[in-house]
C-alpha cells in the first residue's frame, strides 16, 4: 500500500517541522532590535504623537497664539458692529476718503496723462 494513511507517520512528519530552529544570526539581530527599542529606566517617557486637535493648534503657534488671535478677531468684530467711537458715522456714508493725497497728480506726471 503506497498511501500515507497512518496518523503516526503524519505525526513524525510534523515532528520534522517542529525541529526547525531560527539561526543564531537572526536571534542576535532580534536581540539587538529589542535593546534599541527598550525603554530606559528613568529616561524620558516616550513622546506620543500629537492628536489632531493639538496638531491644529500647534500649526498656528500653540494655545497662546490661537487665544490671542481669537481675542483680536472678537474685538474687531465687536468694533465693527457696535462702532463705539462713531468712526463709521464720522466718515459719512458714500464719502470718498483719499488715503494718499496728491497720488493722482503723481501718477499723471509719471504716465504722462493730461
Amino acid at each position: 500500500m503506497d498511501e500515507m494513511t497512518d496518523d503516526r507517520d503524519l505525526e513524525e512528519l510534523f515532528g520534522a517541522g517542529r525541529a526547525a530552529l531560527p539561526p543564531d544570526r537572526l536571534l542576535q539581530r532580534i536581540t539587538a532590535e529589542g535593546r534599541a527599542l527598550q525603554p530606559r529606566p528613568g529616561g524620558p517617557a516616550p513622546v506620543a504623537a500629537p492628536g489632531r486637535r493639538r496638531a491644529f493648534f500647534e500649526a498656528f503657534g500653540g494655545w497662546r497664539m490661537v487665544g490671542g488671535l481669537t481675542a483680536s478677531v472678537a474685538a474687531g468684530f465687536w468694533l465693527g458692529l457696535a462702532d463705539p467711537g462713531g468712526y463709521v458715522a464720522a466718515l459719512g456714508a458714500g464719502e470718498t476718503v483719499e488715503l494718499l493725497p496728491g497720488a493722482d497728480a503723481g501718477f499723471a506726471a509719471i504716465f504722462g496723462e493730461s
Binding site: T5, A16, A20, L21, Q38, G43
Partner: protein, 193 residues
C-alpha cells in the same frame, strides 16, 4: 509574600513587564522565548527560510513595541504573536511568486547521525511542499495544531473563527496532506504497509 500568578501566560506577561521596566536581560530572554515560535510558523507557512527570518524579525519588533503598553490579563502573548506572524506571512504569501525552499532551515541538535539528519531534513522539505498545496486557512490551522501544538480554542481565537471550523480545517488539511505525500512514503523513511 505575593501569591504566584498561575494564569496561563502570566510568565510571558512578566517577561514583557521586565522589558518595559528596562531589565537589560529581557531583550535576550524575550528573543529566546518568542522568536522561535514566530520563525517556525512563518517557515511552515512560507517554505522559505529568508522570508521566515524577515517575518520573525518584524513580528518581534512589534512585540517589543507593544510590551510597554501590554495589559496584564488581556490577550495571551503567544496567541498575539502567532496572529501577528500569521498575518505577516499571509501578506507575503499573497505578494510573492512561488519561491522554492532554497535554504533548508537549521534543524535542532540531537539527531543521532548524518543519515537521520538527512531524513529529518527531507521530511521537513516534503512537509513544506505538501503544506504549500493547501489553502492558506487549512495550512495555518494545521501548523498551529500539529506543529505548534495549540488547542483548538486557542487556534480559534488566533484565526478568529469557531472551534468547529478549526476542527473542519485540520481534518480536511490532514486528508489533503496524506494524499499529497502518498507517493513519497518510502522515500521519507516510513515503513510500507
Amino acid at each position: 509574600m505575593a501569591a504566584l500568578d498561575q494564569r496561563p501566560g502570566a510568565a510571558d506577561e512578566d517577561l514583557l513587564a521586565a522589558y518595559a521596566a528596562g531589565d537589560p536581560a529581557a531583550p535576550r530572554r524575550m528573543t529566546e522565548r518568542f522568536a522561535p515560535l514566530a520563525y517556525r510558523l512563518a517557515l511552515r507557512m512560507l517554505a522559505d527560510a529568508a522570508e521566515a527570518e524577515d517575518v520573525a524579525q518584524e513580528a518581534m519588533i512589534r512585540l517589543f513595541k507593544a510590551a510597554p503598553g501590554w495589559r496584564p490579563g488581556g490577550a495571551k502573548v503567544t496567541s498575539w504573536l502567532y496572529r501577528v506572524s500569521a498575518n505577516l506571512a499571509t501578506d507575503r504569501s499573497r505578494r510573492r511568486r512561488g519561491v522554492p525552499l532554497d535554504e533548508a532551515a537549521e534543524l535542532a541538535d540531537g539527531a543521532p547521525s548524518a543519515e537521520a539528519r538527512l531524513t529529518e531534513r527531507a521530511r521537513a522539505e516534503a512537509l513544506d511542499r505538501a503544506l504549500a498545496l493547501l489553502p492558506e486557512r487549512q495550512r495555518l490551522a494545521l501548523v498551529l495544531r500539529h506543529i505548534e501544538g495549540l488547542a483548538n480554542p486557542e487556534i480559534a481565537a488566533i484565526m478568529e473563527i469557531g472551534t468547529e471550523a478549526v476542527e473542519s480545517l485540520t481534518a480536511r488539511g490532514k486528508r489533503a496532506l496524506r494524499a499529497a505525500l502518498a507517493g513519497e512514503r518510502l522515500a521519507l523513511g516510513f515503513e510500507d504497509g
